[in-house]
């Protein structure tokens, strides 16, 4: 995955259990905010309820106002634990300690990727594979059983909800999208009506618009009225596309790389073949 997403992460525990004094409320809140905004996962531990105790093979920075001296490092099952006393430290200094542990241990730097990707609502999905056919970036794939899946989340183009517009069942969510129902809000009757009138973005593009644009300057120089008409038609089409891009909230660079009709047909064919090879029935295309 991009951004080293599959590398181990450093978790942080704010330890306030036996052998440590409680943090001051303002210090705790400030520290939580600072660590989370830097991308660190934090567990508050007061009564040893097990919240920080999972031995999941990640590394853990345990911060606390410890009453006694602590070893700098310990092992808890498969988890490497780095222990630091934050008595008298500001939130900024404590975050600095955590950053130091992370870089010394060679663990992944948090952040660096806005987690933007489609999420499928399988209560609605009919496995029609239109999303897989439409997306040229291989975000979608099919499981061994021929079921649609989001497989390459980090291939998705940030802030682009285009495939959710293609899904005929309103089954694709982008949890970080601004508007419903794509953000995961309940689906209203109006949403379904709107989706029923869904435009086929790629058919509208028709696959020739960019070639036409490339030829445009030559045509503009033409003295033949027929070609001037074509040029006017192209302008009109561009205007419609710009409006469509605005309406659908698709970033310009993504809009410029949407698949052509031929590409969609080729992907649909291969999706159907994959699905047929697996379950013998083939996806509904």
């Amino acid at each position: 995955m991009k951004g080293g997403l599959d590398l181990p992460v450093l978790r942080v525990a704010l330890y306030e259990g036996r052998g440590a004094r409680a943090l001051e409320p303002a210090q705790r809140f400030e520290l939580l905010q600072a660590l989370l905004d830097k991308g660190y996962r934090v567990t508050r531990v007061t009564n040893g309820s097990g919240a920080a105790h999972s031995s999941d093979g990640t590394a853990l920075a345990a911060l606390g106002r410890f009453e006694d001296a602590q070893p700098e490092q310990a092992q808890d099952g498969e988890t490497q634990v780095f222990i630091r006393n934050i008595e008298g430290l500001s939130a900024e200094q404590a975050v600095g300690l955590v950053e130091g542990i992370r870089s010394e241990a060679g663990l992944r730097e948090p952040g660096g990727w806005k987690p933007w990707f489609p999420v499928i609502d399988y209560d609605r999905c009919t496995n029609c594979m239109q999303c897989l056919s439409f997306c040229l970036f291989d975000v979608y794939g099919a499981s061994k059983e021929g079921k649609i899946q989001v497989q390459n989340q980090d291939n998705c183009k940030t802030d682009c909800p285009a495939c959710s517009r293609v899904c005929p069942e309103v089954a694709i969510l982008f949890p970080k999208y601004r508007h419903g129902p794509i953000h995961g809000g309940e689906i209203q009757a109006d949403d379904l009506r709107r989706e029923a009138m869904k435009v086929d973005i790629s058919a509208l593009l028709g696959g020739d618009i960019y070639q036409a644009l490339r030829d445009r300057s030559a045509k503009a120089k033409s003295r033949f009225s027929k070609e001037r008409d074509e040029d006017r038609a192209l302008k009109e089409r561009m205007r419609c596309l710009a409006k469509l891009q605005d309406d659908l909230d698709i970033p310009a660079e993504v809009f410029a790389s949407l698949p052509t009709l031929e590409e969609i047909q080729a992907k649909a064919k291969s999706a159907q073949e994959k699905s047929t090879a697996v379950n013998g029935s083939g996806a509904k295309l």
Partner: protein
């Protein structure tokens, strides 16, 4: 606001999502909720971004999904539910309730969480 209302459990695992990489959850709501959690005596997990954990198929999500009771403070329940499912760890709606910081005011969310403080004494 709850997916499974009235989920009374003696020890519910609380998971707070900061939605750190986007501005869709109002800052004042997520701060007010975090401040109340932080001022309580509750143990909790705070994640910078549950979406990222879903993309990573993070094992911690499996752990949350396996809890006898969990309260997830994040965004739309439909989004959270399918994020867990997409990672391969479906949530049991009988055991998990999801509170939505995109829609609910902080006070309403805090009212739901703080009674849990008494059960964790």
């Amino acid at each position: 606001m709850n997916e499974a209302a009235n989920t009374a459990a003696p020890e519910t695992r609380i998971v707070y999502c900061r939605c750190a990489y986007a501005r869709v959850v109002p800052r004042e709501v997520k701060d007010a909720v975090l401040e109340s959690l932080s001022a309580s005596n509750l143990d909790f997990d705070a994640a910078p971004d549950l979406c990222e954990m879903s993309a990573r198929k993070d094992e911690r999500l499996r752990e949350i999904a396996a809890q006898p009771s969990a309260t997830i403070v994040a965004c739309y329940p439909r989004a959270v539910r399918w994020l867990f499912s997409g990672a391969g760890f479906p949530l049991d709606p009988e055991k998990v309730r999801i509170l939505n910081m995109r829609e609910e005011p902080a006070e309403a969310i805090v009212r739901e969480i703080l009674p849990l403080a008494e059960t964790q004494q």
